[in-house]
């Protein structure tokens, strides 16, 4: 018995170390975001210091970052909503209605998600440039529909497949139209897992960097693009501001991940 316990403790310690590796970069950046300008560049690194709010104060007054935050808060929800409207019914159709070329269309949707970003970004850059829409919010939203709709369809197919088909058949027999079966039976039953998928897509779009980086420059920059601008700012890296802005940027995904984990089982199987 004692040997088993020893082994148990050994594995527990290993697991805790592993968890530490998972969280260390985030914790270190969080700590650093409260350091003063001197503390942050001191070597050896300081673990104990007087926390200051200077970095956050400065970041919250930076017009580009606040602009990026506002843009992200506009672009991401609208793209998600459009993805929902155009994607969810199609996900249902793929899950329930058999038709010719169904498999081919599904592969097409999958391949949209896997197109190399550059192959998409450069043509979009040129298209928006020619239309005079470069660096505008509608252009970003429209570009993001590639991700939002295709991911939404792909993920909701599984959600709808988990709805017991008997419920829908019963509704059909009662004389419900196809739309009623979808809106009154299938959608309400699948909505918990679909909301999980929406959280996932929200995070995906919130974090998206490359496309936004290419098609925006000032007016329509998203939060990740605004934060990445520090990388090319010059010789001296303003670590304090970077830390604070990265923490702000990471808060929405971190909060959502708490809800997301509850939906994780839905990704694979009905529980």
């Amino acid at each position: 018995m004692a040997r088993v316990n020893g082994k148990d403790i050994f594995y527990k310690i290993i697991i805790i170390l592993v968890l530490l590796i998972a969280l260390a970069p985030i914790l270190w950046m969080f700590l650093s975001s409260f350091k003063s300008r001197v503390d942050i560049i001191s070597y050896p690194p300081k673990f104990i210091f007087t926390p200051v709010m200077d970095n956050y104060k400065r970041v919250l007054q930076m017009p580009t970052l606040m602009h990026g935050l506002r843009n992200s808060l506009t672009i991401v929800p609208i793209s998600l909503l459009l993805g929902f409207i155009f994607g969810v019914p199609v996900g249902y159709i793929f899950a329930r209605i058999k038709f010719k070329r169904s498999a081919d269309l599904r592969f097409f949707i999958l391949s949209l998600r896997f197109m190399p970003p550059v192959a998409v970004a450069l043509p979009f850059f040129l298209i928006w440039m020619r239309l005079g829409l470069l660096d505008t919010i509608p252009a970003v939203i429209f570009t993001y529909l590639t991700i939002a709709i295709s991911t939404m369809i792909w993920l909701t197919i599984e959600c709808f497949k988990q709805v017991p088909v008997e419920c829908e058949e019963a509704a059909h027999l009662e004389g419900c139209t196809q739309f009623q079966v979808f809106s009154r039976i299938a959608l309400p039953l699948a909505i918990p897992s679909i909301l999980g998928m929406c959280i996932f897509i929200f995070i995906l779009l919130w974090n998206e960097f490359f496309l936004a980086f290419v098609i925006t420059s000032q007016r329509a920059v998203t939060m990740p693009v605004a934060s990445a601008a520090f990388a090319v700012v010059g010789m001296e890296v303003p670590w304090g501001q970077i830390c604070a802005s990265v923490i702000l940027l990471s808060i929405p995904p971190l909060i959502l991940s708490y809800f997301f984990v509850k939906f994780l089982p839905y990704f694979f199987k009905v529980s």
């Binding site: 594995y11 697991i15 155009f86 019914p89 949209l112 197109m115 550059v118 450069l122 196809q178 934060s227």
Partner: protein, 291 residues
């Protein structure tokens, strides 16, 4: 609304949008790739046939970026699947129960959900050779300071480590969830027959989780083509061209500084073709292996 009307009303608008989003840019890119369009030059745009493509394959910098991209994919896919599914998932599955297990799962998905730009900065701060915490710990063992991002021989691996960090934990979490779905009876029957721990994994658990696991593997492979965020924030392709992947090079050529739109377009077409070929080969291979 009949079934057919429902089908048409919802399918047609969505697929019009998707076909437009997919094919219009690509056809455009192909069209431009046959021209000599240059944003920095005022000469008239004209068709030059396959000149851009021929130039590509004699361009040493392009061939270098092709090699870097390939290396990047192999390293990140290999290590994250090995660490995630091979080491972390069994560790947690066998040794963490109840709420501790849920906490582990929760923490495991955090790195992958972080914005990649954010994660890149976190690691850049830790990698720093002057103020970085990693070099500080290494100094206890008399090592360093190592220029993780400044040394051309380490830079690519240092950046890849971040991707591996994000994905190992995610793959582990997904694998653990797959393992949970295996009916307890099967495993108990196996243990009663005197199977060893590794035999349980090899002969009972492994075959059951292979099909869903392959799709995780496939997704990771495709996601590995998206390396731009990390590389842009950490090294911007440098030092020299040590971490310049295909997307980084195409970006510099087409949008960043050079403005050679047509040349970069031909690069994105080549990239697309390579991706399609790779996806098809891997996908077919996976399907066949599974059967």
């Amino acid at each position: 609304m009949t079934r057919k009307q429902f089908f048409l009303v919802f399918m047609i608008p969505t697929f019009i949008i998707l076909f437009f989003l997919a094919f219009y840019p690509l056809l455009n890119a192909f069209y431009y790739s046959l021209q000599n369009w240059d944003l920095r030059s005022s000469r008239p745009i004209r068709f030059v046939g396959l000149k851009n493509y021929i130039q590509l394959f004699t361009d040493a910098r392009f061939l270098n970026s092709l090699r870097i991209s390939l290396l990047w994919s192999v390293i990140t896919v290999g290590f994250s699947v090995f660490f995630g599914a091979g080491l972390l998932a069994p560790l947690i599955n066998d040794n963490a129960k109840g709420s501790f297990r849920t906490i582990c799962l929760f923490i495991f998905i955090i790195p992958a959900l972080l914005p990649r730009v954010g994660a890149a900065y976190m690691w850049r701060l830790m990698y720093s050779s002057s103020i970085g915490i990693i070099n500080y710990f290494l100094s206890f063992f008399g090592i360093g300071p190592i220029g993780f991002l400044e040394n051309p021989s380490y830079a690519l691996y240092s950046v890849a480590a971040i991707d591996i960090w994000q994905w190992s934990f995610l793959i582990a979490a997904l694998t653990i969830i797959l393992l949970q779905d295996i009916p307890k009876e099967i495993i108990e029957a196996g243990s009663l027959d005197g199977a060893k721990r590794w035999q349980l994994y090899r002969f009972i658990i492994f075959p059951v989780i292979v099909p869903p696991f392959l799709s995780i593997f496939f997704i990771k492979m495709m996601e590995s083509l998206r390396s731009f965020d990390f590389i842009f924030v950490l090294t911007a392709g440098g030092p020299g061209v040590a971490t310049e992947t295909l997307d980084m090079y195409a970006y510099w050529q087409g949008i960043g500084s050079a403005g050679r739109v047509s040349y970069a377009s031909s690069m994105s077409i080549v990239m697309l073709v390579i991706t399609i070929i790779l996806i098809t080969i891997v996908w077919r291979g996976l399907v066949r292996w599974h059967e």
